[in-house]
């Protein structure tokens, strides 16, 4: 048990650190330091331009898409080298925000399912920061129950069609699409046959987000940001060549995406604990700093062991990566613990701040309203990318081997599964 790099790892780390020291946009450092939870914020420059510039620089020097094969714009690096890079890149890694969905989910799906020609075209553009991708999965009626999506894709069977026979025509709506407004491409799951079993009637495409008939409406969130969007499709045409996998094989393709989503290491989830510890040394009570109050200490200690538990769990994952093992569903712990913890920490901090805990003005509130933002952001963390309940199901079923719940939608054609609409009839 040790925290030392192997000689190869040390060498990689030294090269990465040196390149970053010479090339990173240090002028953005202070802004990146305080960039809030869940979203890249920059004021002095355009965030997309800054993100693309840094990505291009990394690409040109061979530091982009580290784990991808070289022929697709990557660096052919090992998983542990990716981790080391992230450690060294530090705060500048936040600049990758707009590409995270591309690298983490869409890219791997394209890599697994697209044609060789498509891969050689799309992936290097992504690696170089030229294209931004988004993921068009969730729908208003299909959140935790993702396979319940209803966006329709119908193939244009008219050989004389102006636009092109064999094109697919898309109608429907997606929701919770992060970054849709900045995206060039979208990974889109559709229903091509509602008369067969739920998981069998799905087909996956990739879509030019500038196609006619695509309409994007930002969602104004409860925390007064707008990271998520609704995306509407009205007779949007997609060439059949942009289909990923066979018709009806969409769920299998989606599993590639979702598995890659889960494989991103959970240890990087912020919890707010270091900031809370700071606050407790700053807030004064009648009897000295809050941190010396036994009540505060006891609660802090319970937060502390969860925060360190997450951090050391990430070390365990990194060690497994370094041995060449793949992280599994046990990584679901990260968001499950961190989401609830951020909410608890925010409430605890506001209570410590007393009536000033109400303040949301950055200029007036303690610690620039960090905990107030956390209070209003954390509910989303407990829902997005798998709700607390879905994560507990995953742990119970895939880690502990417990049976799935009884399924009301099993062995039933999709269009006969009970819905809110059918219940009203």
């Amino acid at each position: 048990m040790n925290f030392d790099d192997t000689p190869q790892e040390a060498d990689f780390r030294a090269r990465a650190a040196a390149w970053i020291a010479n090339n990173a946009p240090f002028e953005l450092g202070p802004e990146l330091d305080v960039s809030g939870f869940g979203h890249l914020h920059l004021h002095s420059v355009d965030r997309i331009a800054a993100a693309k510039a840094w990505q291009k620089k990394k690409f040109d020097a061979g530091w982009a898409a580290l784990r991808w094969p070289r022929e697709y714009g990557g660096a052919g690096a090992s998983p542990i080298e990716q981790v080391i890079w992230s450690e060294e890149e530090g705060v500048f890694g936040k600049l990758s925000g707009p590409f995270n969905i591309g690298f983490g989910m869409c890219g791997p799906t394209v890599m697994a399912w697209a044609s060789e020609e498509q891969k050689r075209h799309l992936l290097p553009r992504l690696a170089a920061g030229e294209d931004i991708w988004c993921q068009l999965f969730s729908e208003p009626v299909a959140g935790s129950d993702l396979a319940g999506i209803r966006t329709k894709a119908v193939q244009d069977g008219d050989p004389g069609s102006e636009a092109g026979a064999g094109d697919w025509i898309i109608n429907g709506q997606k929701i919770w699409t992060s970054g849709a407004r900045d995206a060039d491409w979208g990974l889109l799951i559709t229903r091509t046959d509602p008369t067969v079993l739920k998981h069998r009637g799905l087909t996956m495409f990739f879509l030019d987000m500038k196609s006619p008939g695509v309409e994007i409406r930002p969602i104004w969130q409860m925390n007064e940001e707008s990271v998520f969007n609704e995306v509407y499709f009205t007779d949007v045409r997609i060439p059949d060549a942009q289909r990923l996998g066979e018709v009806g094989q969409g769920w299998t393709v989606a599993l590639t995406t979702l598995m890659n989503e889960r494989m991103s290491i959970g240890g990087s989830m912020p919890t707010g604990f270091p900031q809370l510890l700071d606050l407790c040394t700053q807030i004064e009570t009648e009897n000295g700093p809050a941190i010396d109050d036994p009540r505060v200490r006891s609660q802090l200690a319970r937060f502390a062991v969860r925060a360190s538990g997450l951090q050391y769990s990430a070390f365990r994952s990194i060690s497994a990566l370094s041995r060449g093992e793949q992280p599994g569903p046990e990584n679901s712990i990260g968001k499950l613990v961190a989401g609830a913890m951020m909410q608890d920490i925010a409430r605890f901090a506001l209570d410590l701040e007393g009536e000033a805990g109400l303040l949301q003005d950055k200029e007036l509130a303690p610690d620039r309203a960090r905990f107030q933002e956390m209070l209003l952001r954390s509910p989303a963390t407990r829902i997005e990318g798998g709700s607390d309940e879905v994560l507990r199901n995953i742990i119970a079923e895939r880690v502990l081997g417990l049976p799935a719940d009884i399924r009301a939608d099993k062995d039933v054609p999709f269009d006969q599964i009970p819905t809110a609409a059918s219940a009203k009839r």
């Binding site: 319940g148 410590l352 007036l364 219940a423």
Partner: protein, 370 residues
């Protein structure tokens, strides 16, 4: 034993509820959240005219002299409807401070206007982050003139009257009554976590004030005001908690996933059951607080703290869980979940946070050494 509200009181409650259903739909709440005004002036006027706010004010001061039990039920309905009104500051605190400590002249000058809603009062206490304690008070009165800064002050933009805790010339801390129309008052709106109950920063520069209650008794009086306000606020909290619970319940009945109502999943059912349990425990504590308030019982400090601690916990739980039950939709500005979430966290801090009240509760029930 009749540990419940009377039929007449329940009828009053239903009347308030009908009025608010009609006059305080969520659009009224949202208009305040989205606008500059600190509260809904129209609703305030209407509720004021109805006499509901004056339930506990004696008739000689323009009230209806019904009693605190009635006011508790009014508060519950205001909480349920998320009413964007200066109740905690004006009705539960400023009016009560006047009733407890005001001279006949002060009562006569202000209570009728507060009771009718013609004037708005507030309490100005906090100055800096952390629990507000005597060491945290810098505002000072010298020669009848107040100087200092108070932040955040609930409804500070709209208020006509502030009851201010400040150091007095004798070195003690006392309550003072400040007419906010007087000289030297600067008000500045500040953004808080609940935009439906707006706050301000109030600066005083040699503002003329008059003492409220005995000199040096500021904290003792404030404790008495807060005990009363805690019970009334707790009713707002359980009203809100119940609304949040049933919002979640209704959504769980209506939303389908995996071919079934999500309310048929145990994870959702048990979450809602826990919300209900927290609400009912809080409600029972509130009932006892209402009784103690209504008869001015010796047990009021313990009863108020119990109601406060339980209601704060219940509303925070119910409002957070209602977002969770709603999934992504619960996180949108468009859905109303966050309005309860914000309100619950505002009310949790409004009279001093949970830890303060936990400590007050144990101090009140601590057995005396033999």
């Amino acid at each position: 034993m009749q540990f419940d509200f009377s039929d007449d009181q329940k009828e009053l409650r239903d009347g308030v509820r009908r009025l608010l259903d009609q006059r305080c739909p969520i659009s009224v709440v949202r208009a305040v959240a989205d606008g500059e005004a600190g509260h809904s002036a129209e609703l305030w006027r209407e509720i004021g005219e109805s006499g509901f706010l004056a339930a506990a004010v004696p008739e000689q001061y323009g009230g209806v002299g019904a009693g605190y039990l009635e006011l508790c039920l009014v508060a519950q309905e205001l909480g349920r409807s998320l009413a964007p009104l200066p109740t905690v500051s004006s009705v539960y605190q400023a009016s009560e401070a006047l009733l407890i400590a005001g001279s006949d002249a002060q009562k006569a000058a202000w209570l009728p206007r507060l009771a009718s809603g013609a004037a708005i009062g507030t309490v100005a206490l906090a100055e800096r982050p952390g629990e507000t304690t005597p060491g945290a008070i810098a505002a000072t009165v010298r020669g009848g003139k107040l100087s200092g800064v108070k932040i955040p002050v609930a409804d500070g933009i709209a208020a006509d009257l502030a009851i201010v805790l400040a150091k007095d010339e004798a070195g003690g801390q006392s309550l003072f009554l400040a007419d906010l129309g007087a000289a030297g008052v600067t008000r500045e709106g500040v953004k808080t976590i609940d935009p439906t109950r707006k706050h301000a920063r109030l600066s005083f520069a040699d503002t003329p004030v008059e003492p409220l209650g005995a000199a040096g008794q500021g904290w003792a009086l404030l404790d008495r005001v807060r005990d009363r306000a805690a019970v009334l606020t707790a009713f707002e909290q359980i009203g809100g908690a119940e609304a949040a619970l049933f919002m979640a319940r209704d959504y769980a009945l209506q939303r389908f996933a995996f071919g079934r109502q999500i309310g048929s999943f145990q994870a959702i059912k048990h979450m809602l059951a826990d919300m209900y349990v927290a609400l009912e425990l809080a409600r029972s504590n509130c009932y006892y607080g209402a009784w103690a308030l209504s008869v001015d019982s010796d047990t009021l400090p313990a009863a108020a703290a119990s109601a406060r601690v339980a209601a704060t916990q219940a509303y925070q739980l119910c409002s957070a869980n209602t977002i969770q039950v709603h999934g992504g939709m619960g996180f949108t500005w468009e859905f109303d979940c966050h309005l309860h979430y914000r309100r619950s966290n505002y009310l949790a801090l409004a009279l001093g946070g949970a830890s303060l009240w936990e400590s007050r509760l144990i101090a009140a029930i601590r057995p005396r050494a033999a």
